[in-house]
C-alpha cells in the first residue's frame, strides 16, 4: 500500500522544489525556493521534518557536503529525489489534475 501513497501538500511542494533545484538542493535553497514561489514563509524546521519523513519513505536521498565558514563550520545536507519519489510526485500530480479537471477553478474563483 505504501507504494501507492500520495504525497501530502507540503511533501509535494518540497519534492517539486528538489526537482527544480537539482544538485543545489539543501535546507536554505529549498526554503527560499518555496518562499519565492508560494509567497509563504516556511520554517527550516518544517522543511527538515518533511525531508526526514520523505527520506524514510524512500522518496529522497541525502548526503553531507563539506563544512563551510559562513555556516560556522557546519556542513550542508544535500537532497535529491529518488526514482520512487519521482513516481510518487507524478502519481500525486495526476490525481490532482484528474480531480480538478473540468472545474475551471482559476476562472471561477479568481
Amino acid at each position: 500500500m505504501a507504494d501507492r501513497d500520495y504525497l501530502g501538500e507540503f511533501e509535494h511542494i518540497i519534492v517539486l522544489a528538489l526537482l527544480r533545484l537539482e544538485e543545489r538542493a539543501y535546507g536554505v535553497t529549498v526554503r527560499q525556493e518555496i518562499e519565492l514561489r508560494t509567497k509563504r514563509e516556511v520554517s527550516i524546521g518544517a522543511v527538515y521534518a518533511t525531508l526526514d519523513r520523505l527520506e524514510k519513505k524512500g522518496y529522497v536521498k541525502s548526503h553531507r557536503g563539506d563544512p563551510t565558514p559562513e555556516r560556522g563550520g557546519r556542513s550542508k545536507r544535500f537532497f535529491r529525489v529518488t526514482a520512487k519519489g519521482v513516481t510518487a510526485v507524478n502519481r500525486t500530480q495526476r490525481a490532482l489534475q484528474s480531480m480538478t479537471e473540468g472545474l475551471g477553478l482559476i476562472q471561477r474563483y479568481t
Binding site: Y26, Q32, I44, G45, A46, E70, R71
Partner: protein, 213 residues
C-alpha cells in the same frame, strides 16, 4: 568552528532554544542553515531585520519540531510523561515531612523562629520546586535524543491541572486571592522544563566537545 564577527551573531537565546529542541541528527544542518541565511539577511537588510527573522524562524521551528518529535516516538514519550507524573506524585508526598523532620531535628522552632516560619511556608514551596526540577531531569535522562518533548508534555499537564484546580477553588469559595498560587504552580512547570534543558545542554556539550578539541 569559525567564530563569526560579533555584529553578525544571531540572538544567542534563540540559538540556544533551537539547539535545545532540535534532534541531534538534524542540529548541525538546521543551525548551519539558519546561520547562513542570517548572515545573508544581515548583510542585505541589516542586523535588526536579520535578528527578527531569526527569532521568527526559531519560534516556528520549535513549534514544528516538538509535535514532530512526539509523533516519531509517541509511546516512549508517553511512558516518560506518565513515569514523570508518578515520580512527582511519589516525591511530592515526601517534601513536607522531610522539611519538618529537619526543622525538628535541629530544634529550629525553639532557637530560630523566623527561619522556622520561612521553611514551614516558602521552604515547602521551594522543596516542591526542587522536586519538579529533579523530575524534569529524570524524564529528560530517560528520553534519549528527545529530552525536551516529555519535559514539555509533563510541564503542560501540571500547568493545566493547576489552572483547573485553582478555578475550581475560586468557583467553590469565591476567593480570587487563591489565584496568586498559580505563579508557584507555573514555576513548578517551568522547573520541569529547566530540568530537561539542563540534561539536554549537558548532553549536547558532551557530544560536541570531543570533535571541537
Amino acid at each position: 568552528m569559525t567564530p563569526q564577527p560579533f555584529a553578525l551573531q544571531p540572538p544567542r537565546l534563540a540559538v540556544w532554544l533551537v539547539d535545545l529542541f532540535t534532534l541531534p541528527d538534524d542540529a548541525e544542518q538546521i543551525m548551519g542553515d539558519l546561520l547562513e541565511e542570517f548572515s545573508q539577511l544581515a548583510s542585505k537588510s541589516g542586523v535588526v531585520f536579520a535578528q527578527r527573522w531569526y527569532w521568527r524562524q526559531a519560534v516556528k521551528t520549535i513549534a514544528y519540531l516538538v509535535p514532530t518529535a512526539f509523533n516519531v516516538a509517541p509511546w516512549s514519550t508517553t511512558a516518560g510523561v506518565v513515569g514523570g507524573f508518578l515520580t512527582r506524585r511519589l516525591l511530592g508526598r515526601l517534601v513536607e515531612p522531610a522539611i519538618f523532620a529537619v526543622l525538628e531535628r535541629y530544634h529550629v522552632y525553639q532557637y530560630h523562629f523566623k527561619i522556622y516560619m520561612f521553611f514551614a511556608s516558602t521552604g515547602i514551596d521551594i522543596g516542591h520546586l526542587i522536586t519538579f526540577l529533579f523530575v524534569g531531569c529524570v524524564v529528560a535522562l530517560l528520553a534519549k535524543r528527545r529530552e525536551m518533548v516529555p519535559a514539555i508534555g509533563l510541564g503542560l499537564i501540571f500547568a493545566a491541572m493547576a489552572v483547573v484546580g485553582s478555578l475550581a477553588v475560586v468557583a467553590r469559595t469565591g476567593d480570587y486571592t487563591s489565584l496568586w498560587r498559580l505563579t508557584w504552580y507555573f514555576a513548578d512547570s517551568f522547573a520541569i522544563l529547566i530540568g530537561g534543558a539542563i540534561v539536554r545542554t549537558r548532553r549536547s556539550a558532551a557530544t560536541t566537545l570531543p570533535s571541537d578539541a
